[in-house]
């Protein structure tokens, strides 16, 4: 767990499926949430006396609520197709990080308590009692899954380990075994409105400072409005965009796009967060509660369009779940998709010639694109299949002259997770994060060597934070990590004073 001990595995010329190393990650686990953090979300503070009954009851409840969970727990035939698909397995060799083995941690308990075969012949079908040891194993290995769904693409039945992990985390939360990073952050959103706990006053100051910086650099009065009633667009963006680097460069990019296109827009201090960690812990209620701030802000400010900034899981929640959780969006302008991704908006403006991009401005960059898992496998863009792949790439090609894709088996829906998604972007599990990034780092190394790539663009706040931290372990420079709208922002012609 000590940060100093973290060492990256060597990058191989060709990806190799590791030899099993049982127990290799048996010591890796995140910090447990404090009693207060759990209770703030309505979960028991710590393991209650009757934890066993509660856990089994919760499992039964989830089986009745989610068809996916029921089918996924029944349908697996142990064919092994998924065994070499998880980045955490490829990076660690721990067999419990093979998707099927991870699922089996939950499945063996399901079999024991919910199937005839498991009740009568537990040994035969690999059914097991739920014990504190099993719970402990869950806490370790269901916190070594980033819910990236790569295995689901390859499963002959579409079994989605993310759904299993979410169910396991829900059960753990129901018995007071919450994880600190996710639960603390969800608490902050409920209390203050964003993951960082940034109060409205500080947010306003930050945006003002950014306006000054843009003015200084470009001579143009690009605004970053906050809580502006009557603005056409309400932009919901991850709070990391407000002051983490390189995130903030994308925020500047969005602002320049709105400015150049003459679209009135605003941010909201009430809904100052696109991220929704409710999805990471699988909680429908938490996910809905976090999302509801967006609806409230949109109604309050009278916005006509909802646009979402660069954030992977946020886009999945917005694209796939918002309509269900906080819809219907009958108060928004029906001419635009609700919600709309910032890449869709910018792409549309570029297509219509409403904004101009000067590629030469990015000539010092040789760019590749990292597909973020939640965008790639859990959402769409542009209303056409695969739009979530072509639209960001179109924007990159419109913003710079040098673009090279990474190996085909590592992009599009086959993309590898950054290694820090799904609620695992926490420093005490840095070892896991570094190892989980291995497959992406190998693919990156190939294009760096072959084409001199010096910039990896992406549209996810977690990917940006994770890679900035992790690429140095693989001898890359952290400045090569950045957003698509960072490129757009550097290439855009602002008109006026130029």
């Amino acid at each position: 767990m000590a940060g100093a001990a973290v060492k990256a595995p060597p990058l191989k010329e060709y990806p190799v499926i590791p030899i099993l190393a049982p127990g290799a990650m048996g010591a890796s686990k995140p910090y447990a949430a404090s009693d207060k953090m759990n209770e703030a979300l309505g979960f028991p503070g710590k393991l209650p006396e009757d934890w066993h009954a509660r856990a089994i009851a919760k499992m039964g409840e989830l089986l009745g609520k989610y068809r996916g969970l029921r089918v996924f727990l029944d349908a697996c035939v142990h064919c092994g197709a998924c065994t070499d698909k998880c980045h955490y397995f490829l990076g660690t060799g721990d067999p419990k990080n093979m998707p099927v083995a991870r699922q089996d941690l939950l499945r063996k308990v399901y079999r024991r308590y919910f199937t005839l075969a498991g009740k009568w012949f537990p040994k035969l079908v690999g059914a097991e009692d739920l014990t504190e040891e099993v719970l402990e194993d869950w806490f370790k290995y269901f916190n070594q899954c980033s819910e990236c769904r790569r295995c689901s693409v390859y499963c002959p039945y579409g079994i989605d380990t993310a759904e299993i992990t979410m169910a396991a985390r829900e059960i753990m939360n129901a018995v007071g075994m919450g994880q600190k990073y996710t639960n603390e952050i969800i608490g902050k959103v409920h209390k203050i409105g964003n993951n960082l706990g940034l109060p409205p006053r500080a947010l306003a100051d930050t945006l003002e400072t950014l306006e000054e910086e843009i003015k200084e650099e470009t001579g143009v009065d690009v605004k970053l409005p906050l809580d502006q009633r009557g603005a056409e667009v309400l932009l919901i963006t991850p709070s990391a965009d407000f002051f983490a680097e390189p995130h903030v460069f994308s925020l500047i990019g969005y602002a320049k796009v709105f400015h150049a296109a003459g679209i009135s827009w605003t941010l909201s201090s009430h809904a100052s967060e696109a991220a929704n960690f409710g999805v990471f812990i699988g909680s429908y209620e938490q996910m809905k509660k976090v999302s509801m701030r967006v609806r409230e802000a949109a109604l309050e400010l009278g916005a006509k369009r909802l646009v979402v900034g660069e954030c992977g899981h946020a886009w999945r929640v917005a694209y796939s779940f918002w309509n269900t959780l906080i819809g219907p969006f009958d108060f928004l302008d029906p001419r635009y998709p609700a919600p709309q991704h910032i890449c869709e908006l910018t792409h549309d403006l570029v297509e219509r010639g409403a904004i101009r991009l000067e590629r030469e401005k990015n000539d010092h960059r040789v760019v590749t694109f990292h597909d973020s898992c939640n965008v790639a496998r859990g959402a769409g863009m542009g209303g056409v299949p695969g739009g979530q792949f072509t639209i960001p790439r179109d924007l990159i090609r419109a913003s710079c002259n040098n673009f090279y894709d990474m190996a085909p088996e590592t992009i599009y829906e086959s993309t590898y997770c950054c290694g820090g998604g799904g609620g695992l972007l926490s420093d005490e599990i840095m070892d896991l994060r570094v190892k989980g990034a291995l497959p992406r780092m190998e693919a990156l190394k190939q294009v760096v060597d072959a084409h001199g790539v010096n910039f990896m663009a992406m549209i996810c706040a977690i990917c940006k934070a994770q890679f900035t931290k992790v690429v140095p372990y693989y001898d890359f420079d952290m400045s090569m990590v950045g957003g698509v709208h960072q490129l757009v922002g550097d290439a855009i012609r602002l008109g006026e004073l130029h």
């Binding site: 099993l20 609520k65 996916g68 089918v71 083995a101 579409g158 759904e163 779940f321 209303g383 979530q388």
Partner: protein, 237 residues
């Protein structure tokens, strides 16, 4: 005595198979799917999603992308099994339908493909470390059961012929509730016993992947969440 035993066992096993699978299917169908979770590449329409499920069922599309060896053995086994089952229809119908008669020669060769597919799948459970790790007793026993059925079947075709006319009389009698004697051939009795076991374990085992694949939300849902609002009954306020 023997005939009565097997007759009653077949009725019981059929009831377990049909009732058990119906029970699971009803449970799958009744459980709500509150959130849209199709996995890319997801079609945008219901028809597209139905086509996707059909390709999964017929071609094992995802498995093909995933692992060519598992696909080869798995697909070979399942197609062979389908042909063999079609061929076996002739023991349950009189007169034999034209297309069943047509499939007859293919069904015979399929018997060998079936065994080859099973052998390949089983070998992987021993030879590939990752798959050895995830294999349970029931995974091996399921393969043993299927291999046993296939080998006794081939045995009756190529080694020691059974009284196939008598068997057909027995089966037709079962279906008409007009019981006929079952030929007391050991190979046949083993074959039928293993089939009975397979029928009974079907609804309580991983063989549920067969109905399950049709209900998998990551495959059967269209990608239309921005256009259509989906709300499960339990999720209403």
């Amino acid at each position: 005595m023997l005939s009565a035993l097997y007759a009653s066992l077949f009725y019981a096993a059929t009831a377990v198979l049909v009732g058990g699978v119906a029970w699971r299917v009803i449970e799958y169908a009744r459980a709500p799917a509150p959130l849209r979770i199709p996995t890319t590449p997801a079609p945008m329409t219901r028809a597209g999603a139905a086509g996707r499920v059909a390709r999964e069922v017929v071609l094992f599309e995802s498995l093909y992308r995933s692992n060519k060896w598992i696909w080869l053995f798995g697909w070979m086994f399942h197609v062979a099994l389908a042909l063999v089952l079609v061929r076996h229809l002739r023991y349950f119908i009189e007169p034999v339908w034209g297309w069943v008669a047509f499939a007859q020669p293919f069904g015979i060769y399929a018997g060998f493909a079936l065994v080859a597919g099973l052998a390949g799948l089983w070998a992987r459970r021993f030879l590939v470390e990752r798959i050895r790790y995830i294999s349970t007793w029931s995974d091996h026993l399921m393969l043993a059961l299927l291999a046993g059925i296939a080998l006794t079947g081939l045995g009756m075709k190529y080694v020691a012929h059974t009284d196939i006319i008598g068997l057909k009389e027995f089966m037709l009698g079962l279906m008409r509730f007009d019981w006929q004697p079952l030929p007391a051939d050991p190979l046949l009795l083993v074959h039928l016993s293993l089939v009975l076991v397979l029928m009974v374990v079907f609804p309580v085992s991983k063989l549920l992947h067969a109905p399950g694949v049709f209900f998998s939300p990551s495959r059967n849902q269209p990608d239309d969440s921005r256009e259509r609002r989906h709300l499960a009954a339990w999720a209403r306020d």
